[in-house]
């Protein structure tokens, strides 16, 4: 049964929470209460062609190659074999091979926004069951990030996880290193948005005891503290005040020269990894390193990188993008090990959608649907390939159209839900985080088995 929009909105507003749920004990709201755990979302913007991230290396490879066409199909010989499986990785993802061999890399096949489990015939006969605006970047990004399925919600599932954590009194549960992200907007918590730079106000030095400096700081504070007439204005001012306070705390953590992170963030050849995504992940690592200073025990982080909307000339571009992803993820996992935190942190990918399996006429591919993703972490159940790889037949049972747009067989809830449960959100809170949870829990459905 799908929840209608009004009910969902009431739920989000929180006021009638008790009408829907049994009473929640605050302590029970956060399971596995000791130590530290964090999940890191790596969002690949533009619609990552995950058909080419993980590729069958058995007899299916011929089907794969003939569907994709010469300009974008990967030769079998080029693939990096995943030991013990019939799959290989895009050559650019070779840094992930050692992580698989260590048992810290899992894959989830053919996942995506779904209202209910769908077959091809149901997809065709029941348009009301299709997620809205299926091949639209904005709409699908929002469905992955808000887990609304029917239509977009004003808050995101990571934000709702954050809501439960702040209800339980936890600190700094949501941090985005990649600017404003739908996924992290909560009803009663907002993510810290960190994007580098020195987080302080010029000219405001609390240690300057000169009379002019004191009077000036007092004037700055007085202006900042004034209450505003409109709700929008007052909330905005409150956000500014909060950001300024938080910035002071985080400044130390992000800029300390005592950190172990920079030295450990290297690729398999020991070379330092640079660039925007690397910087984001290094900041995540520093924040994990500094978790005690923040008194943080349960956190969600979000990083992202873009450019994956390869309608034209895909091969070289996609290879470059995946090279960056591979090196950054390797560097990040290496750093977690250096910090001794590899068992307490899991990084996982998401993207707007997969791309059409059949190549288009411009040596690229267009928007599709069900996509494959990987999860990295020392706490994983080793070497799992979860979900169901689609049947590689154009117009076949896995195809929503006739060109290879896979109908997901694992919902966003089943994929992300596994991570959220591992993080410590209780059974009872899962419907708050995922409004559609009842469709994916029970009756043969449930979160994928990423963890032990």
């Amino acid at each position: 049964m799908t929840m209608n929009r009004r009910e969902t909105l009431k739920l989000i507003a929180g006021s009638s929470l008790s009408a829907f749920m049994p009473a929640l004990a605050r302590a029970q709201a956060v399971g596995g209460g000791t130590g530290y755990k964090a999940i890191v979302t790596l969002f690949l913007y533009g619609g990552n062609d995950s058909n080419n991230m993980i590729v069958p290396t058995d007899a299916r490879h011929a089907d794969y190659a003939s569907i994709r066409g010469g300009s974008i199909a990967l030769d079998q010989s080029a693939l990096v074999p995943l030991q013990g499986t019939s799959y290989g990785l895009h050559p650019a993802l070779s840094p992930l091979e050692s992580i698989w061999n260590e048992g810290a890399l899992n894959w989830v096949f053919n996942s995506g926004p779904l209202l209910e489990p769908l077959t091809r015939s149901l997809y065709e006969s029941r348009p009301d069951l299709r997620p809205a605006n299926l091949f639209s970047h904005d709409a699908q990004q929002n469905l992955w990030q808000t887990a609304g399925a029917a239509s977009e919600l004003p808050t995101g599932w990571l934000g709702r996880v954050g809501d439960r954590f702040v209800d339980a009194g936890l600190r700094a549960p949501s941090i985005s290193l990649s600017g404003a992200q739908r996924a992290m907007i909560g009803d009663r918590n907002s993510p810290l948005l960190i994007s580098g730079g020195n987080l302080q106000r010029s000219g405001y030095n609390p240690n300057d005891m000169g009379s002019a400096a004191i009077a000036r700081r007092n004037a700055v504070d007085t202006m900042m503290a004034a209450s505003q007439s409109a709700t929008l204005s007052e909330l905005t001012a409150a956000i500014m005040r909060g950001d300024i306070d938080a910035g002071l705390q985080l400044n130390t953590i992000l800029n300390s020269d005592q950190s172990a992170v920079d030295a450990a963030f290297v690729d398999p050849n020991g070379a330092a990894v640079t660039g925007s995504l690397a910087d984001q992940l290094k900041r995540v690592a520093r924040l994990i390193e500094g978790r005690d200073q923040l008194s943080a025990t349960r956190q969600t982080f979000m990083v992202s990188t873009g450019g994956f909307d390869n309608h034209r000339g895909q091969a070289a571009t996609h290879s470059g993008l995946l090279t960056n992803v591979g090196r950054c993820v390797y560097g990040f996992y290496n750093t977690l090990k250096a910090l001794g935190m590899e068992n307490d942190v899991a990084l996982f990918t998401m993207s707007d959608f997969n791309r059409v399996c059949k190549g288009n006429g411009s040596a690229g591919s267009d928007h599709a649907w069900g996509s494959h993703h990987f999860v990295v972490g020392g706490g994983l159940q080793p070497n799992q390939l979860l979900g169901t790889y689609p049947e590689l037949a154009l117009g076949g049972p896995s195809d929503a159209r006739t060109d290879g747009r896979w109908i997901p067989t694992t919902s966003v809830e089943e994929y992300a839900g596994s991570l959220v449960r591992w993080l410590g959100v209780s059974d009872a809170d899962m419907p708050y985080v995922f409004p559609n949870w009842s469709n994916w829990n029970g009756g043969g459905r449930g979160p994928v088995g990423l963890f032990a």
Binding site: D138, S151, I185, A237, H311
Partner: protein, 806 residues
Amino acid sequence: MRIQTLIVSSLTVLAAAMTPAAFAGDLVAAVSPPVRSIALPDGGTATATTFATVINRTDAALGNCEVDLPGRFNSLQLNYGWTDPATNALVPGSENTPFSLGPRASQSLVIAITAAAEFDGVIPPVFECGGGATADSLYGVNTFELNVASTPPIDIVTIGLTLSGDGVIRVPREGGRQAFAVAALNIGGAGTVRITPVGLFGQNADLPADLTLCMTNAQGQCFITPEPFIDTFFGTNDVFTFAVFAQAHSGFVIPLAPASNRVEVQFRAGAQLAAATSAAITAPGPDYVLGSTEALRLAQQATFGANQTLLENIRRIGIEAWVDDQLGRTDSTYADLGLEAVPTNFCSNMPNPCRRDHLTAFRLQMRFFQNAMEQPDQLRQRVGWALSQIAVVSEHEVPLNYALANYQEMLLSNAFGNYRDILEGTARSPVMGDYLDMVNSRASAPNENFPRELMQLFSLGEARLNRDGTAQVDGTGRDLPAYTEADVLALSRALTGWVYPSAGNFIPSFNNPPNFTGPMESVASQHDNGSKTFLGVGMIGGQSADADLEQAIDIIFNHSNVPPFISRQLIQHLVMSNPSPAYVERVTAVFENNGQNIRGDLRAVVRTILLDPEARNLNPDANMAGKLREPVLLMTSVMRLIGADTDGYAFLRRMGGMGQVPYESPSVFNFYPPDYALQGSVGLISPSQGLMNMSTVFERHNVTLDWTLSGSNNRWDWRPLSDYPGATGTQVNWSSWGRLAQTPDRLLDVLDEIALEESLTPTQRTAILDAMSAQTYWGNPLIEAENRARLAIYLITTSPQFQLDH
């Protein structure tokens, strides 16, 4: 009357005319003449005398009063004596003798300053009584400029006399004229001086008055017609009289503010200021139709930032007349930049600025900021800027200056045109064709990117809308979609067959080389001319690419979603982030039909948006009002407020850290989503909040501080770019703000009025004044005042009140 007696009596009135300032000293003093030039004999000393009056402003008796020099003038010696105000004679035995001042009493003095070496500078004498009572130093009123030179300079003593006898030139009515008499005696060597009346006005604008002068005869009549300046030869002991005329500009007020609004008559021998006299000036303004807050609210909605002159214009002619004037303006353009067509490999063997100038949006962006700062068609530019955030193209994927200029010129020139022209413009533009892959899309593999975004972002939106902008929902509460995947496919097919223009000489063909000099051209063989059903309308088979495009645009344009979808976003870009559905519906109605049965008339739509009662409401609903200023609007507001003169480069150097550089949107979804939810609210959206993260909060503060408190004219990001022809960098004239800051209460009144909608609270005012008075610059009152002005402006422009439109 003898000049010296004249001097003394005028001093008294001058001093008495000083309006009380926030931290005015207990004493007030005036010095005249304010300038002397004297000759230094070989191996000897030279002494210049001047007269002063000190007044006790308190009701308490003060004793032990003295005059002295500030410590740094250790090469000079100051002696003073008391004078009889009636005769100007020195009181015997009073040399360097401290004096008393009864309550409200005054003392006239003669001051003699002796130099043993050449000297040229402004001296602020210190007037102080026991118990710490002092007089504030006010440049030109109680400062003394001394020039000591070896060759005997011309040494003129001059005095002015206003008709009202109170040291104030009082123009009798708006646009009227007033005279002021000046007498000058040369007690030095012979020489020629140029005499020029100069207007001094607070907060960086020109005194709104034309100043002229003439030499007069003994009856006070001009020998010849008054002129802006005259050159006169003075022999030793020559006396001349002059009349100075101030013709106030109609439509402008000159407030009575003797510290900052003055006419100074300067006598210059070459570049050297040999003498000066000045008087305050005031002129009544017109009866304003509007209050200042009303005018400011409109300026925030319709311009890139308010300043005093703009607000006076609006107040004078009223909202409707000002809006109608704006709707007729076409001053800004990018057309010239769009003519500089180059191939994409143009800079392969060219030296450095080539790439910057042609293969990035740099020059287009410079022009954007120059226009925003200076061009009077402010509203048109605001609408063009809004349209560029709806129908987005970005330098990230089309790095060609002339191409981007052509596209933005299309939007700007249609800002008050018809929205259908904009939709068609995006469809035919090779820039958009490149950006969203419509160029070279062909029948065998139609590209869905542009068709999808044309509907989703530029015209319909994703949900079916009511006329009031709210989404239509089905029985289960789901949004009804505005279009389906089948519509996307149909539109993709209809828009196949377009290629880059072929530069005239040959037949257009598939995969023409990139060329952005004109609209895309069609290739029939690549066009899918089968029949289609699009948005419920049948498109017959056999139509050409051009006919399909025209019909598709018509179908989209006539969809009921377009008026509310576009109207709501324009309201959000101009006025407020959360308009009421009723407001949206009123604007939708005008979009649908402008009253002359025309659909899509943006001129009428924008007019309606600004004149609507919800936009003009001085007491808006607190639950709906408000709009966070996006970085571009914040920074142009700061710079237009302070009166910066800029070629735009400073913005390009500093805006990146705030996440918004014009025409460099990270994706077709703009810098921020139009429906970004405001954290902590129930149902409010705040689109530019999408750019407000911890990093940008600090960046907004720090750049604003750099350009106000630390805004000295040689700062690194204000220097002109050396390899850019015509580069002027950025400068601000702080001296006029400084003059206004000599009366801090008045400075805050002005800033409150032109920047904060008169929302400054008493607590805030006190805190700012305290910070200003704690900011000192010993020995140079004008620099001290400038620093204080910059501090006040910094505190106000970094406040939450200034970050938001209310």
